[in-house]
Amino acid sequence: MSNAATTRPNGLALFILPSALLFALFFFLPIGLMALMSVLTGNPVVMPKVAFTTRHYGRMIGDPYYLEVIWTTIRIGLVTTLVALAIGYPLAHWMARIKSRTGHALLLMAVLAPMLTGIVVRTFAWMTLLSDKGVVNQTLISLGLIAQPLKLMYTETGIVVGLVHIYVPFMVLTLTGVIGRIDERLEQAAENLGASPLRAFLEVTLPLSLPGILAGSLLVFALAISAYVTPILLGGFQIMTLPILIYQQISANFNVGFAAALGIVLLVISLLLVIAYNRALGLVSGQRELQ
């Protein structure tokens, strides 16, 4: 923003103030208070004698149960991201390369339709598909392929399937933008020189789309580790993740301090991911400038 440094803010700059106030009061202040609560022994409003403590963080590090919860959250996030990438890439490639305008509009609608269906509704859909008497098991039984219903729900697999469905549109939209910017003539040149379409893809398009892969993966990972509805409903309260634990600390244990400490851990992980995501997108635009 070199021109911004040389010219002074004008009257229109004042229009930023209402939003700045909103962020100060309802974003920075609450997050600051959360950080503060995570190092206090209790609620300073109702308890006159509060002291600083590291016990909430100590509890997290000292108890293998909480480390296991954090690891489960990260593991579910990683698997979701990899599957979303495997499913999202072909669709993004098709969307970026399809010639027909109608075809593109239809694909876009197909990708946006799940996004516009609420998370609770989509999780309900997967419950009807994956439960013991659900569509998948009933179909497989009636076809004689299995005798007993497969345990699809209340497993990590079930959670991953639901999460992939919910977050794959974010992967597709990120990748479509990046693949669309890759000059199609590069692929055509490789094919004209005798490379198979698969080889042209693997050696031309795929390497050039790496920044998009990185950005999409970071976005999906950040969303997946902060999911609450899908892990709790498809995991049937049996698989514990960080967001579920945070809400449980508030709703069942009333342990605001520990919930705040868990929240700060999730916040730090997410902030690191946001910074990495912006770097990855910076790579995309940097590449465009080079072309």
């Binding site: 339709a113 902060s226 609450y228 999730l266």
Partner: protein, 286 residues
């Protein structure tokens, strides 16, 4: 060939030397289409299934469906809890859309035209509620309201929703402002229009599509918002997603299907409206 840094060049040269003809070409094409159609089925089948269960009359989830009935829709529309939740969700979504649109559009205007220092950082901050876990926004606001002893007021919920929907308005409005010829504004002012008149007669009509697109995103996101609401709703005054979630924990019958169909139809009506009025394509870039 040490100078070939670009992967494309390497491929081209290797392909040229190998001269592998492409006999698998048609099969590869079919495989590519089949794979993509399978992915589309994965994306869309769950939504279709919801509609099937909303119309299936059995009191539990059963497949294949045994008939068609509207009993779950009747139960949904007759339920006081669901109707109250639907009304409250619409109220919150409308208030959120208004505040997010006014705040977001003004912020975008200031960022694009105000010569503010550190614009990149401000934009990144304003977009950050999109990527930071919404459950943390909910938790932090919940703790703040508890500490300040304000209870769980509707304005507190609307403020939380505004925070997570504002980024959409900022982004769509900025996109329009960046593609817009500032000479039009200069021309109006050179011809004697006051800055206020220029704003209302030139700037506002030109940025309207972006603002409108952002407003519609804000409405849908607020209407479907769950994690922030989870922490900020008070018992007896819950939004539709929270009511659905609480119902789903214990019951799995067609009422949820009917409620889902109602919210899907609402979202589709809004999106088709968006596509008809301003066109979707330029606003969904991430």
């Amino acid at each position: 060939m040490q100078t070939t840094a670009s992967p494309s060049l390497t491929a081209v040269q290797q392909a040229a030397s190998a001269r592998t003809p492409g006999p698998i070409r048609p099969y590869g094409r079919y495989l590519y289409l089949a794979l993509n159609i399978a992915i589309l089925i994965f994306l869309l089948a769950p939504i279709a299934i919801v509609v099937v269960f909303a119309l299936n009359p059995t009191p539990f989830i059963q497949f294949p469906p045994v008939g068609v009935s509207l009993r779950w829709f009747e139960k949904f529309f007759a339920s006081r809890d669901f109707m109250h939740a639907l009304g409250f969700s619409l109220e919150v979504a409308v208030l959120t859309t208004l505040s997010a649109t006014v705040l977001g559009a003004s912020a975008a205007l200031a960022l694009a035209r105000g010569n503010l220092p550190g614009t990149r950082l401000i934009v990144a901050t304003m977009l950050s509620p999109l990527m930071l876990p919404a459950i943390l926004t909910g938790l932090a606001l919940f703790q703040t309201y508890v500490l300040l002893d304000v209870g769980r007021p509707t304005w507190g919920l609307v403020a939380g929703h505004t925070l997570v929907t504002l980024p959409y308005v900022v982004r769509t409005t900025l996109a329009v402002l960046h593609n817009f010829d500032t000479r039009l504004e200069e021309a109006a002012q050179n011809l004697g229009a006051s800055p206020v008149r220029t704003f209302f007669e030139v700037t506002l009509p030109l940025i309207k599509p972006g603002v409108l697109a952002g407003a519609i995103f804000a409405f849908i996101v607020s209407f479907d918002q769950f994690p922030v609401s989870l922490f900020l709703v008070s018992p007896g005054n819950e939004t539709l997603p929270v009511t659905l979630f609480n119902y789903l924990k214990f019951d799995l019958d067609g009422t949820i299907g009917a409620a889902s169909v109602v919210s899907i139809v609402l979202a589709f009506v809004v999106v088709i409206g968006l596509d008809r009025t301003v066109g979707l394509r330029s606003y969904v870039k991430l």
